[in-house]
Each structure stands twice: as structure tokens, then as C-alpha cells.
């Protein structure tokens, strides 16, 4: 039985769990069970999923890899889009470029600090989160001028065949991540680095290069996540991205990517984001008090982790 369970891909387990949770929601709260609600939940999960994309790469790279700066970078991405575009459609392209550059720069510094100064990823990226937040505060002084380009809002929230744009964007992200991880040299090297850095280096992989590139990509993906999130929330505030930080890590782990590195997939992360969002929506729909929502969410998270978050015997 146990051997059988461990052979099912984690992504499938998480996916089946979210469907089960959805129907369970229908049992307790009949008006929960309809197509509009399902689409709405997938749309909410899309943002968590996109923000967790970079986190997936960083965790696969191993070496205690983790990126605690994604929350601050998401906020920065949204604020830069808001300010640079000034709410004009024409300014959106420039905003995209600025957002990518800023995310890349932050990720690059993270990577350099981790690889060359050997600061543990957890504290390096945590410190970077503080620096990004501090810079936002110092530059904007709490007053953020700008606007949301209509084109961005339409792109993210507009519907095509009844499905919101965010979900299409997420699907494209999913395919792109699959391609990068499974069909490129970078993807192959990333897994090799995650499994064992020494053997990867011996077989000719530029380990520092791969690790630095991975943190850079994580910064870019988080910043782009912030840009897309702005299209959904249509307003910015200083703590916009914070609530996505730890869920982005939880989504990766629930999706079966091992924190020790070297193993995992973005489809798993997508399913993980779906389960987490489904659980939260369900608890909210049941109108439980906040305290009980916290307890049940924590409990479910522990159960989900014990399905696939287990470490090998001797780590």
C-alpha cells in the first residue's frame, strides 16, 4: 500500500485532493459547488502559482535553497508597474522592462551573496527582503503615485470563453516552466546541481553560474508575479506581496518538490497552489471564525506535508 502511494506523482495527489476538497465544500455549503466558484478559485491560485514558480527553481537547486525575498519583490513589481506606467497603456511595456530589470538585479545580488560570500540563502534573501521594503519606503514615503493600465487589468481579469485571462497566463507559465525544466540544458544542470553540487561540478556543470542564474530567475518571476497581481487587485499597498511568501514555499513542498533539492516539478507546485487556495476558500465559505480557520488551515497543511513533505531517512 505504502509503496503504491509513493509511486503516484505528488502533483496528481494534490490535484485529486483539491477536487475532493471542492466537493467536500459542496456538502457543507451547497452554494460553494458551482462552475463560477471553481473558476474563481483557480484564478486566485494562479497568482500564488506564478509567484511560486521562481521558488520552485530555487528549491530544486538545493544547498538549503529558499527565497524569502519573493514577498517584497512581488510588492516591488506591482509598485513599479503602478508608478512607471502611470496608468497609461503606452507605459506598460516600459513598466514590464523595468520590472524585469529590477527583479533580475535583486535576484542577482541574492545569488552573488549566496555563492561568493556564502551567506546562507535563508538569511541572505530575508535580509534582501528588508532592503527592498526599506527602499520602497524611502523612495515612496508611503505615497505612491501612478495607476493601473487598463490593458493590464483587461489582460488579467478579462474573460475569453468564460475563463479569466489569469488562468491562461498561468497555463502558459506552466508550459514554459515544463519546457525549461525538462527540455533545456539549464533544466538538466539545475537538477544535477540540486542532487549533488560536487558531482555536478565534476561532470562539467558551472555550478556557481547555475545557482546565480536560478536566484536571478526567481527575482524576475516574482517581480512579474507582482505586475500580474496588480492587474487583479488594481491597487497597491506596502504589504501586497507579503501574504504570498510562505504560501509560495508551502505550495512547492505540498507539490512534492523536496526542500533538500534535486527533485520536483512545476506541475506539482501548480497543484500545491491549487490545494492551498482551495482549502482557504473552503474555510472562508464555511464562515468559520478566524481562529478556527487558522487552526484548520494549519492542521490540513500538516496533513498535506506528511503525505509528501517527508525527508529521507538519513539526510
Amino acid at each position: 500500500m505504502k509503496a503504491f502511494i509513493s509511486r503516484i506523482p505528488p502533483a496528481a495527489v494534490a490535484l485529486v485532493l483539491s477536487v475532493l476538497l471542492f466537493f467536500a465544500g459542496g456538502l457543507v455549503q451547497p452554494d460553494f459547488l458551482n462552475a463560477a466558484q471553481a473558476i474563481n478559485i483557480v484564478r486566485l491560485a494562479a497568482f500564488l502559482g506564478i509567484i511560486a514558480a521562481g521558488q520552485t527553481l530555487v528549491i530544486i537547486a538545493g544547498g538549503e535553497g529558499i527565497d524569502l525575498s519573493v514577498g517584497a519583490v512581488v510588492t516591488l513589481g506591482a509598485i513599479l508597474t503602478f508608478m512607471v506606467s502611470g496608468g497609461n497603456n503606452e507605459g506598460l511595456w516600459l513598466a514590464v522592462l523595468v520590472v524585469i530589470a529590477a527583479g533580475a538585479a535583486i535576484g542577482l545580488v541574492n545569488g552573488l551573496g549566496i555563492v561568493y560570500i556564502r551567506i546562507p540563502p535563508l538569511v541572505m534573501t530575508l535580509g534582501m527582503a528588508g532592503v527592498v521594503q526599506g527602499t520602497i519606503l524611502a523612495v515612496t514615503r508611503g505615497d505612491i503615485p501612478g495607476g493601473v493600465p487598463r490593458a493590464l487589468a483587461n489582460f488579467v481579469t478579462g474573460r475569453f470563453l468564460g475563463v479569466p485571462g489569469a488562468i491562461y497566463i498561468w497555463a502558459v507559465f506552466g508550459l514554459a516552466m515544463w519546457f525549461v525544466l525538462q527540455r533545456t540544458r539549464y533544466g538538466r544542470e539545475l537538477f544535477a546541481v540540486g542532487v549533488n553540487r560536487r558531482t555536478a561540478a565534476l561532470s562539467g556543470v558551472n555550478v556557481p553560474g547555475v545557482v546565480i542564474l536560478t536566484y536571478t530567475l526567481s527575482g524576475v518571476l516574482a517581480a512579474l508575479g507582482g505586475l500580474l497581481l496588480l492587474g487583479f487587485t488594481q491597487r497597491v499597498f506596502l504589504t501586497l506581496g507579503e501574504s504570498y511568501l510562505f504560501p509560495s514555499i508551502a505550495a512547492v513542498v505540498v507539490g512534492g518538490t523536496v526542500l533538500a533539492g534535486g527533485r520536483g516539478s512545476y506541475f506539482g507546485t501548480m497543484a500545491g497552489a491549487l490545494v492551498l487556495t482551495m482549502t482557504e476558500s473552503l474555510l472562508r465559505a464555511m464562515r468559520m471564525g478566524e481562529a478556527y480557520q487558522l487552526i484548520v488551515f494549519g492542521g490540513i497543511l500538516v496533513v498535506l506535508l506528511s503525505v509528501y513533505g517527508r525527508q529521507r531517512q538519513s539526510n
Binding site: G130, V131, I295, Q311, S314
Partner: protein, 317 residues
């Protein structure tokens, strides 16, 4: 003892950082060493020092605990529920006893998940922090409660002219000196260094790392007691903001996040550095909007310091 301490280079860099920080603070705030000011600083530091001490023990054993802030909140609301303004010694003792048991139980839950079920510590303790926050919110839905005046005055007092909190730090360090010599702590160092090697040499890995989380829970309860004495009231989110600083302090103090090396002395120094950086920013008249940035940049530089020194040395060699 002193010579051994100096030879132990783990604490050398953090200690130098601390001396520089204290020097700067004294320069900007000439009354820094006045008992009243010193006492005020120590009162802020002590709860985080106790919490970081626990975090150091877990990290030495190769783990990490992101639920410590929620544990502090949970114990804090329990204390103000059991102890009211009119409480006498029996209720106070009961409160303290329940607090310690609660902390140990919360830590045991983490320990079971991480050590016995082998769940990954970062995400597991993040998950249990929701449980603790939820229970704390049920115990005390709205901030409130107050302690007997005698208790809060005691925390601010300075018997023999030395702040009570300074005694607290001395007790914490003495406790560490004793704990360090125990078989338990030696086992934790071995596990953090290499779990496989520790197992091969007969250390019961799961059992010992389970107890590292229980110890963390007890330290969180102690930290919550100090914090409650300091604030005199309860709030179900009171400790939340202490989690990440407790980890940063441990790393600033020279403890490796990977485990196997470091100690509580470093964590105590780390907390002192963090607190003094805040002081410096206030007394250097840094404009309000720049304070977060300065704080973060200085902390990042302090974290990078040892690595940069090593990098330069390697270049020369």
C-alpha cells in the same frame, strides 16, 4: 575559561561587531551607560535573547523553528488569562507552571512532526504556527488583560543597583554553560554536524532532535513570560514579529544554519547587535522613511562581514 573563549573563534566576529555597535551607540547617546537607559535597553533585549537561545539549540541540531513567535503569543495570552491584576502568588505560580507546560507541549508537537514523522522543519513549523495562532486567538479574542503591579515593577527593578534583566541574562548564560556540558547537547552538536555519523556512533537521532524542539518550546514560554512582564498585557499576535529576528540573531552570532556549530552566547550577542542597530538609527536622526532601509542594509552587511573577510583572505592566498 577566558582563554578558551578567545581561542573559540566562533564568537570573535560577533563580539567585535557588538563592541563597534556599542561604541557608536555611546558616541551618539552619551548617557548609554546610565543605569536607567541601560535597563531600558536590556528590558527590550531579554525576551528575544531567551527566544534566540532556544532557536540556537534547534539550529545547532540541524533544525529550525518558524513557530516560535506564535508560541510566544500563545503563552502570553494564556498568562494574562490565568493571572489578573488581583492575583496572588498561588495564581502566579500556577500561571508560570501552565506556561512552561504549554510551551513544552507546543514544542513536542513540532518535535513529533519533524523528528518522528520526518517532516521538513521549515514548512512544518510554519504550518503549526497557524495552529498556535488560532488557539491564541480563541483564548484571547481581543488584546487586553493586565498583570499585578508587583510583577511588572519587579521586571523594571534594579536590586543592588543592577537591573533585574541583567541578572536574567547572567542566568541565561549560566544555564547554557551547564547545558552545553550535558550529553544531550553533545548529541545535538553531533546530529547537526552529520545525522548519519551520529546515528552510526549510537546517538538516538530522532529522540534527541525531538527534545531539541521541546527545549525550544520551554525557551519560548520563558521568553513569553519576560515579554508579558515587560508589556503587562496580552495580545494574540504579540510574538509574531519575533520569529525572523530570532533566526537572524542566531546567524549573526556565528551559528551555522546548517547545524553542528555555534551556541547560545552567539545568539545573545546577536540580539544585542540587532537591538543596538535600532538604537543607532534612532539616535543618528535617520529620517523616519529611511529607517527600515538603514536597518536592513546594516544587518545584511553584518551578515556578509565574515564572508567578505574570508573572500579577501582567499584572494590574497
Amino acid at each position: 575559561m577566558t582563554r578558551a573563549f578567545l581561542r573559540n573563534k566562533t564568537y570573535l566576529v560577533p563580539l567585535l561587531l557588538l563592541l563597534v555597535a556599542i561604541g557608536l551607540n555611546y558616541y551618539l547617546q552619551p548617557n548609554f551607560f546610565q543605569p536607567r537607559v541601560l535597563n531600558g535597553n536590556l528590558r527590550v533585549m531579554l525576551p528575544l535573547m531567551v527566544l534566540a537561545a532556544g532557536q540556537a539549540i534547534v539550529i545547532i541540531a540541524g533544525g529550525i523553528d518558524l513557530s516560535v513567535g506564535a508560541m510566544v503569543s500563545l503563552v502570553n495570552v494564556t498568562l494574562v488569562t490565568l493571572i489578573t491584576r488581583e492575583s496572588g502568588p498561588p495564581e502566579m505560580l500556577l500561571g508560570a507552571g501552565v506556561a512552561l507546560l504549554l510551551g513544552a507541549a507546543a514544542g513536542a508537537l513540532n518535535g513529533v512532526c519533524v523528528a518522528f514523522l520526518r517532516l521538513q522543519p521549515i514548512v512544518t513549523t510554519y504550518a503549526t504556527s497557524f495552529l498556535f495562532s488560532g488557539v491564541a486567538l480563541i483564548i484571547l479574542p481581543r488584546p487586553g488583560g493586565s498583570l499585578p503591579r508587583a510583577l511588572t515593577t519587579f521586571y523594571r527593578s534594579a536590586p543592588l543597583g543592577i537591573p533585574a534583566t541583567a541578572f536574567g541574562i547572567v542566568v541565561l548564560l549560566l544555564l547554557w554553560v551547564l547545558l552545553r556540558r550535558t550529553r544531550f547537547m553533545q548529541n545535538l552538536y553531533a546530529i547537526g554536524g552529520s545525522a548519519a555519523a551520529a546515528r552510526a556512533s549510537g546517538v538516538r537521532v530522532a529522540l534527541n532532535s525531538f527534545f531539541s524542539y521541546v527545549a525550544m518550546g520551554v525557551f519560548a514560554a520563558l521568553a513569553a513570560m519576560m515579554l508579558t512582564l515587560s508589556t503587562g498585557s496580552g495580545n494574540s499576535r504579540l510574538g509574531d514579529a519575533m520569529t525572523l529576528p530570532s533566526i537572524v540573531a542566531v546567524v549573526l552570532g556565528g551559528t551555522r544554519l546548517a547545524g553542528g556549530r555555534g551556541g547560545v552566547v552567539g545568539a545573545v550577542i546577536g540580539v544585542a547587535i540587532l537591538t543596538i542597530i535600532r538604537n543607532l538609527i534612532t539616535f543618528a536622526n535617520v529620517p523616519t522613511w529611511y529607517q527600515t532601509l538603514f536597518d536592513a542594509v546594516i544587518i545584511l552587511l553584518a551578515l556578509a562581514g565574515p564572508g567578505i573577510v574570508r573572500l579577501i583572505r582567499e584572494r590574497k592566498a
